[in-house]
Structures are given as C-alpha cells and as structure tokens.
C-alpha cells in the first residue's frame, strides 16, 4: 500500500485542533502536523479545509447477525457504518443465539475483520441467552474478547443478579452495561407516559422507570465496587443521579443516542413506528436535560443505538412493532446539529464520538496519534443533505430522522489506512 497524504484539513482529535496534513503509511498514522512534505509516490488528497478526525467509535449498535439477517447483515451494517464515518462498533449480544459463548465472541470479531472496514467489538451477555437468569461465563468471554457485558435491550431486572454480575465482573476489570428501565414499572408501555401517550391511547412508561433503575444500580455499584454503565440515558432525573454518583467518585458512566437530544415524543406523530424507540422518546424537558448533560460532561459518549428493522417489523400497529431505529449513517450529522446550534463545541462533539467511547471500550482507535491505526473520518461540517428512509446506505432504513435536513456530511472514511468510503 502506497503512502497517502491528506492535506489541507483541520485535524481534530482529543487535545488536538489545528490546520495541517496527515500521512498514512502501512495502515498507521505515520505523521501529522502543519505542512508535512509529500513523500515520493504518495497519493495526495486535498481536504479543502474539511475536518479530519478519528474514525467514529460507536459504543452501542445491534447487528442483524447472528439470527436476524433479514433485518441486516454485518456486510450491510459495515457499509452504513463506513458511510457514517464509523470504524469501530460495539455490538449487542442479544442476538440469536445470544453472544454468551466464547466461540461466538471470536466469530463476531472475525466477521468484523472480514469486512475490511469495521472493527467489531462484541459485548458479552451477562446472562445465558440474555434471559436474565443464570450468569454467563464472564471470565471466558472476557478472555475471548468481550469488551463489557450487557443483556442488550433487556434490563437486568433482578437486583440480586445485578449485584452478582457487578461484583464478579469487577474481578476481570469488566463493566456491566445496563438498559436502565424497571421492567415491572414499564410493563407493556411503548411511549413516555403523559399527555401525548394519553392522546394516542398508548400504554405509557413513566420517566421514573429509568431513574429507579439508575438509582438502584448506582447503589449496587457502591455496594460491590463494580463498574456500571447506563446505556441510552434519556431523562433528566436519571442524569442528575449519574452526575451525583460521578461526583461521589463511583465507577459510573453513561451514553446517550441522537434521538434523545434531537427528538421528543411529538415525533411519534400519527403512530409512526420509525419513532418507536426503547427507551421511548421523551418530553422536551428531558431532551434539553440530555443536551445539558452532554455539555457538562456527565454523558461520556454518544452511541448510534442502531437497531435494524425491516418492513415486516415497522408496518405494524404501534404497540406491537418492535422498538428501535437505524442510526449508523446519521450519528455524526445529528450530533453536529448540537455544534451548529451552539450547545456543544466541535471538539466536545468529536470527543463524545471518538476518544471517550474508545477509552470506555478499551479500543485502539478513537485518536489521532503517531503509530495509531489510520482509522479516520473526513467530514465537511457545513455540507447539507436530507435524510431519506429508503435511500440510506445499508439495508436498515428505519430511521427516526426521516426527512430531517442535516448539516455536516462524511466525505471520506479510512480503515487501517484503506479508504472504505468516499
């Protein structure tokens, strides 16, 4: 592979924000800085002043494999990820079969390598089959390469089991990732409890269902000394609890996903199932609280929370449709919306998408540094486009952002020095 010089870009990575060039050699970042010379024979790419940042690290996404290939294959997810500037992705284990066996962890890592464009970091199941009953082999799964443990879209409901998992995982330095929703309180709910759900006649989930689970697990983290991570946090009340726990020095982290800072419950409109998410879209005060928590650092990462669905899943009455939205191709664009409207700095936004999730996952990528893998994303922060379900890259088209104008477009993605998009 010949050298590649990307010049005339704004280099943006944790602790780095300056105009300059970047040189890729043998799949690694060989050098970066102002006006690098061009080595003989190097391919030159003029960035035209666009931003070059580390390839995005998406710490929460569902893949259709294994078991739900009709929704999405890994190859198609990798295509969507590349178009979205994502080069590393942590996948959920609630597949069929669930990722509760070391061989399956190996398989997912290998399948990622086979794409040539996407590193797949699998989460291991906390419980066998993600059924919430017996603990899976967390030690063997860690050894096989599971980056942390979760039961995916299902909360670990039993306090006893959560305590055991936090305590046991601690011995392997592993984090437990919780879907923070008390299932007995959420019941069969499918929209945030309040006037909107009442109007549509949909069973509601009170925002308190999230805060209750967060409060319980923070207490269990203190009891066990374990590390808990709350996924797709969506309410101000839960974020206040997490902020306090962090101030108290507990090992508590969290992420959110673009729908929770870009949309509110009114997006459901007339029972549109693309907007049926879990947790459900919240009231606007919660959306604003999520933005405040992104700005003050309470939230550690922005994840796509990608959940591929096909038309058999989405063309159902609202309450029976499975929740989840496609999110890979829109992760960067929606996040940049918060930069354009002044809520986040560009550096904050990029850190939330790269260095900070990479650290949580113990991933190699997520930074621009000499001899780091040349996983890169080149994007134009102001270029406009419109999200259109049916025209997104990859198979899953169930975007909750259908029709949304976007400001900021990926123009090139590199994985280990090889251009995989643009």
């Amino acid at each position: 592979m010949s050298d590649v010089l990307i010049h005339n870009v704004r280099l943006l990575s944790e602790g780095l924000d300056r105009p300059g060039d970047l040189l890729i050699r043998d799949g690694l970042i060989a050098d970066f800085g102002p006006s690098l010379g061009c080595p003989d024979g190097a391919e030159q790419i003029n960035g035209d002043g666009a931003i070059l940042c580390p390839g995005l690290v998406d710490m929460r996404a569902s893949l259709g494999e294994p078991g739900f290939e009709y929704r999405e294959t890994i190859a198609s997810a990798a295509q969507a990820a590349a178009a979205g500037g994502i080069t590393t992705l942590a996948c959920l284990p609630d597949t069929m079969p669930a990722l509760d066996d070391p061989a399956l962890i190996h398989m997912m890592r290998t399948k990622g390598e086979e794409t040539g464009s996407l590193t797949i970091l699998p989460y291991g199941a906390v419980t066998r089959g993600c059924r919430g009953e017996e603990m899976a082999e967390l030690g063997l799964l860690t050894e096989a390469g599971a980056v942390a443990f979760t039961d995916g879209a299902k909360a670990i409901a039993s306090a006893r089991l959560m305590r055991v998992a936090l305590s046991y995982a601690r011995g392997f330095g592993a984090r437990i990732v919780q879907h923070p929703e008390d299932p007995s309180l959420a019941g069969s709910g499918c929209a945030t409890e309040g006037a909107q759900a009442t109007r549509l006649g949909l069973p509601g989930i009170p925002a308190a269902a999230e805060a209750i689970m967060v409060a319980r697990d923070i207490r269990l983290a203190r009891l066990t000394g374990g590390a808990v991570h709350f996924a797709h946090v969506s309410t101000g009340e839960a974020l206040d609890l997490i902020r306090q726990a962090k101030d108290a020095g507990l090992n508590v982290t969290c992420d959110t996903a673009p729908p929770y800072f870009d949309l509110n419950e009114t997006a459901i409109g007339e029972f549109y199932t693309y907007q049926k998410l879990s947790p459900p879209l919240r009231q606007d005060a919660d959306r604003r609280a999520v933005i405040a928590a992104l700005a003050d650092g309470t939230i550690d990462a922005i994840a796509s929370d990608h959940q591929p669905r096909d038309t058999d899943d989405t063309r159902l009455p609202y309450a029976v449709a499975p929740p989840g939205g496609a999110g890979l191709a829109t992760l960067l664009g929606v996040t940049l919306g918060q930069v354009h409207n002044g809520n986040l700095s560009m550096a904050q936004a990029i850190d939330l998408l790269t260095a900070r999730p990479a650290r949580l996952l113990g991933a190699e990528g997520g930074r621009i540094a000499k001899d780091a893998p040349a996983d890169l994303c080149l994007f134009h922060p102001d270029r406009v486009w419109r999200v259109e379900a049916g025209k997104l890259p990859g198979k899953a088209q169930n975007t909750p952002f259908d029709g949304r104008p976007m400001e900021g477009k990926v123009i090139g993605t590199w994985k280990a020095g090889r251009r995989v998009f643009g």
Partner: protein
C-alpha cells in the same frame, strides 16, 4: 321498519323544546348538498373542527327522522362497497354500521379477522392489500391496537372509518352520544358532562372528551386515580376522584364500562368496592341535576359500574336511544365520506 312519529324520541317521550322535526331537511335524492367535512377518513374526533362535527350531527339528525318515517335512501350508496373489518369482537357496532350501510343501499360485507395469531399485524396489512384489490369504497375498522386504522388508511384507497381502535378513539360513538345529547337537551355547548369510570382504557372517553370540549362543554372525568390517564387535565377537563363532587349539578352522566381484566391487573381491588365508590346508583345520581341524563356506550356491567334500576330509568336513561342514534350517525358518516373521495374541500 315501523313508521313512528318523528316528533317522539325512541323512548316515546317528546323531543326537547327547541327541536322541531325538520322533514324538509331530509337529504334530497339525486342532489348533492354542500359538504362541510374536510377529511378523507374518519379516524379520530381529535382534529375535527366544530363545523365538521356540526355538519355530521345535522345530517345524522335528518337521518333519525328518515329512519323513523320508515323510508330508506337505497339509491344513495348504490354500487358502493362497504366492508366491516372487525379484528375485535363487537356485535352492536358492527350491526349498526351494517344497518346504516344497507339503509343507504351499499353492498355490505362483514369480515371478522381473528387476532389470536401471533402475526396479527401481518394479517392487517395483507388484509388491506386484499381489500384494495376488491375496490372497496368504505372501510369500517375495529382493532384492538391503537392506531391500526391510521396504518390501514395509509395503505388503502378506501375512506377509512375508525370503529374503535385500542384505547385511542371511537369517533362514531362520540358523535352518537353528542346527537343523543343535542336532541334531548337542545344544545351541546354549555352543558356540564361527567364521564365516569375507567377513563384510562376508554377510547369512548377520549373521543367524547375531544368532541365535547371542542363543542364548548364543561367536561369532568370521575374515577379512581388508577384508572385516570396521565395528564388528562391537559385535555381541558377537570379530574374528580369522588362521584358526589364530580356529579354535582351535571347535565349528563356518562358511564364507562369496566372490564374484568382491570381487576386482575389490580387497578381496582374488586367489583363490589368499585360499585360502592364509582358505580352509578340513585344516591350518587341525586347529586347531578334533577333532569340529568344517564348514558352508557354499552355493553353494560349491571351492578359493577351502573345499578340496574338506574340503567333502566324510564325518563332519564337514554341508553337505548344511544343505540338508535348510532345508526343515524353512521349513515351520516357513510353519506359524507362517500361523497368526498378525498376531495371534500369546501
């Protein structure tokens, strides 16, 4: 049907003062009256303007007179196909739509689809595709899932009429309730109406709240806190948990059906406790106005939400009249939607 005196109500009592039979306003055969309804479908009361509701009620009123006169309008919907698509058991609503369609001359087909299969949604859209291929003009849908008629309306060419969807809306029930009230009280606006019981799970309550607040009523909802939907006060209603204060000086007492499964979910402890505090009996009714009317969408659980003697009260219970109004209202809806073909603009 037997010809009846059009100046008498179904119960045999005289019409309220101010209501004069308007035989001249029977829909004239072969001409098209001006249309005041601007939707292709009837999916919900929410979003309808007062003039659209008023139009449907006036037209329905004229159909009451037509029905009582024993005449029919069998040429109005001749050659049109009306399909009653019921995913949930219902005898009275389906029969009411069937009768309405037949009185207007439509070809009426009843389809009952079981929802017990796991892939009920698949059935829903597969059925929609089938109906579309059959060139159905009017599609009446009942489904146990909120929003199912909205989903169907996006997929079929027919005008869709929501005959009750989950806990969302039941628009023709609200219209027939309004027609009953209007004919008995001579007006709708300005009345005080208490809607009592399981508001949480009631599509009838939601549609009635939208309609009655739109038409300028004072609407109260009365029931145990566990059966009140979240933020219901934001719909412009006042919430009461006590029947005696909730019913005070009410013009209309509208009872809702309490389903047995609410007990199994522990939302209320027992039928006898429910009846003691929220069942309508003579003692609680005494707090309403002396001429307050008693309504119930049916089917009733006698002895649970309503005392039998009250349900059958000869002067004040209008429950049977509601059923009669149901046919007229559905005729008005079918008439209006069949004229539109989605081009109902004034």
């Amino acid at each position: 049907m037997v010809g009846r005196d059009p100046t008498m109500t179904a119960g045999g009592g005289p019409l309220a003062p101010g209501i004069t039979p308007r035989l001249t306003r029977l829909p004239p055969t072969g001409t098209t009256p001006p249309v005041f309804y601007r939707q292709k479908h009837l999916l919900a009361i929410e979003g309808l303007a007062p003039d659209e509701i008023g139009h449907l009620l006036e037209l329905a009123d004229s159909y009451v007179l037509l029905n009582r006169s024993g005449k029919t309008q069998r040429d109005l919907l001749r050659g049109r196909t009306l399909i009653n698509l019921f995913f949930e058991d219902s005898t009275r609503t389906r029969t009411s739509f069937e009768l309405a369609g037949k009185r207007l001359g439509a070809d009426v087909i009843n389809m009952s689809v079981s929802t017990s299969s796991v892939n009920k949604g698949e059935t829903l859209l597969d059925t929609a595709a089938t109906l579309n291929a059959m060139q159905c003009d009017l599609l009446v849908v009942r489904h146990d899932q909120s929003g199912a008629p909205n989903l169907l309306a996006r997929k079929v060419d027919a005008a869709v009429i929501n005959a009750g969807d989950g806990t969302h809306e039941h628009p023709t029930q609200a219209l027939l309730d309004a027609l009953t009230i209007k004919r008995r009280k001579g007006r709708i606006g300005g009345l005080t109406i208490a809607i009592c019981g399981d508001v949480l799970h009631s599509r009838v309550a939601r549609s009635n709240i939208h309609l009655l607040t739109t038409m300028g009523c004072e609407v109260r909802v009365v029931g145990p806190p566990t059966l009140m939907p979240a933020d219901i006060a934001s719909f412009g209603v006042t919430v009461f948990h006590d029947m005696k204060t909730g019913l005070r000086d009410a013009d209309i007492v509208m009872m809702l059906r309490l389903q047995k499964e609410r007990m199994t979910r522990s939302l209320v402890p027992s039928a006898r406790e429910y009846f003691r505090f929220w069942g309508l009996d003579a003692e609680k009714l005494a707090y309403a106005k002396d001429d307050a009317l008693i309504m119930h969408p049916g089917p009733m659980n006698r002895g649970v939400e309503i005392d039998s003697a009250i349900a059958d009260h000869p002067e004040r219970s209008v429950i049977k009249e509601q059923v009669e109004m149901g046919v007229a209202v559905r005729m008005a809806v079918l008439d209006t939607l069949s004229r539109g073909d989605g081009r109902n603009d004034v």
